[in-house]
């Protein structure tokens, strides 16, 4: 039995390295630790304070591992009248969905976990739309007044956030003329899509904030009155899972933003080997996008749920449709069809 496993490993070693290695599991875990630490240090810097300092001599990087261990060792409290199985399972699966979506993103030329070509962008979006369903499942399973309100609000927000997002990606697809993520990146060699697709980018940015539920749209977990929304009942490892889900969701959407608007892995070569170059450029752009997200997160007030939905339906969707019409007009009438 042991021999077949060894043979199986040798046969598809490169894919295994990709899955467990760089764009796969370890990258996501490292990104989680980096993102949480970076958020605390960067936000602290904006608020003219220090952020974690003492844990781990250099800039308190050990703080995160300490927090993770603390959360893991905490006792998991499962409320008596909640649906036990769904309650435990839903928290765990929350981070699986964005992780599967990340496998489609190429970090360098032909360097994605699933290097399939064809309809990868619609597939990515299809996977990502599952995320809110699990969030609602979590809120409903906890069977607590606060979490149910939080879950309902999460549904309203996701509906209002997702439609303009998908419409703005349609604008990019038309402009690039393909469905495939890799081709979209290749088409951005001449110019990044942020400039021709500026209107689409604005719509994408606002609904991006709504999808990852950061301020000004973090209504589902509004501490002010609902004491953390649908995550209220989770403690210990389950809370860690839901936090993991949040940050992987952030990772997935920001990777999509990079590939669609900031030219994925394109950039002047540093080391010559295309795979390493592409990855470095993707990571640099990722850090920039994450920094921008945290800055937006800190400089606006949280909107009420009805205002957020009004922004979504009255402003974002018409703008997205206008963007599509403009793209079609500019592409096929002025430039005579690419």
């Amino acid at each position: 039995m042991f021999k077949d496993i060894m043979k199986f490993i040798e046969v598809n070693l490169p894919v295994l390295i990709k899955i467990l290695g760089f764009p796969g599991l370890t990258f996501i875990l490292i990104f989680l630790i980096f993102a949480v630490w970076y958020q605390r240090k960067y936000l602290a810097r904006l608020m003219t304070r220090m952020g974690p300092v003492h844990a781990g001599k250099v800039l308190g990087w050990l703080q995160l591992i300490a927090d993770a261990l603390k959360l893991l060792t905490k006792e998991i409290i499962i409320p008596r009248e909640s649906m036990r199985k769904i309650f435990v399972l839903s928290a765990g699966t929350l981070s699986v969905i964005p992780a599967t979506a990340i496998t489609l993103i190429p970090f360098a030329k032909d360097f994605a976990i699933f290097p399939i070509r064809g309809y990868t962008l619609p597939l990515f979006l299809a996977i990502m739309t599952l995320y809110p369903i699990f969030v609602v499942l979590m809120g409903w399973a906890a069977n607590n007044k606060f979490t149910i309100i939080g879950a309902f609000r999460s549904i309203y927000l996701d509906v209002a956030g997702e439609i303009p997002l998908i419409l703005s990606t349609i604008g990019v697809m038309i402009w690039a003329g393909t469905y495939d993520i890799q081709d979209i990146i290749e088409a951005q060699k001449s110019i990044w899509f942020v400039f021709p697709q500026l209107l689409g980018f604005i719509v994408f940015l606002v609904s991006f904030m709504a999808m990852i539920e950061k301020v000004p749209f973090d209504i589902p977990e509004a501490e002010a009155e609902l004491v953390f929304g649908y995550k209220t009942e989770f403690s210990g490892a389950l809370f860690l899972d839901s936090m993991l889900g949040d940050y992987v969701n952030l990772l997935a959407w920001s990777l999509l933003m990079i590939t669609l608007y900031f030219g994925g892995y394109l950039g002047p070569s540093i080391t010559g080997d295309p795979i390493i170059d592409g990855s470095i450029w993707t990571l640099i752009k990722l850090v920039i996008v994450v920094t921008m997200t945290f800055t937006i997160m800190i400089s606006y007030a949280r909107l009420r749920i009805d205002q957020a939905i009004r922004v979504g339906w009255n402003y974002l969707i018409p703008l997205a449709i206008l963007n599509i019409i403009l793209t079609i007009f500019v592409k096929y009438v002025i430039l005579g069809g690419g």
């Binding site: 810097r45 904006l46 003219t48 304070r49 220090m50 300092v53 800190i298 400089s299």
Partner: protein
């Protein structure tokens, strides 16, 4: 309603916040750095046993009844003992003392694990503990936030 137009009300907050990245953090790492008090800072009270004539004026004026007169063997008169759990550091006892026997120092590190060692009898009030002894990890004392050097910087920047 507002003097700025719609777009700038969305965009300016972002850049105003971003400009804060260059600011220096203002946190003091307390046990290692400490804010230096001013000459008038009202902290630990000390008693000059020779000057004190035991008149009890400080006990009478204290708003929180934190001062009681206690008998001390080595001297003929009674001397004030201060219960620092009740004292609110208003400094009225220092002000009213006819012989200026009481004095206040900018030391606020008065802490104790038990009720007893926060009640300072006259012998303990005699001399103020120096800072090194109270805060072994102290590296240096910080000037208040608007230091003279910073004042010149602000005046230049604000113009």
């Amino acid at each position: 309603m507002t003097k700025k137009n719609f777009v700038s009300r969305i965009v300016t907050p972002f850049f105003v916040v971003l400009k804060h990245v260059v600011n220096q953090p203002v946190t003091h790492k307390y046990p290692f750095e400490r804010l230096k008090g001013f000459s008038r800072t009202r902290g630990l009270i000390t008693l000059d046993m020779d000057a004190c004539i035991g008149c009890g004026a400080c006990g009478w004026i204290c708003p929180d009844h934190a001062i009681e007169m206690k008998i001390v063997e080595s001297s003929k008169v009674t001397h004030p003992a201060i219960d620092f759990l009740k004292c609110s550091f208003c400094g009225m006892c220092v002000e009213i003392c006819p012989r200026n026997a009481l004095d206040m120092h900018p030391i606020v590190e008065i802490a104790g694990t038990e009720y007893k060692n926060l009640v300072y009898y006259p012998e303990k009030l005699r001399q103020a503990p120096n800072l090194k002894e109270l805060l072994p990890m102290l590296k240096y004392e910080l000037e208040p936030v608007i230091t003279p050097s910073k004042m010149s910087y602000i005046r230049k920047k604000v113009g």
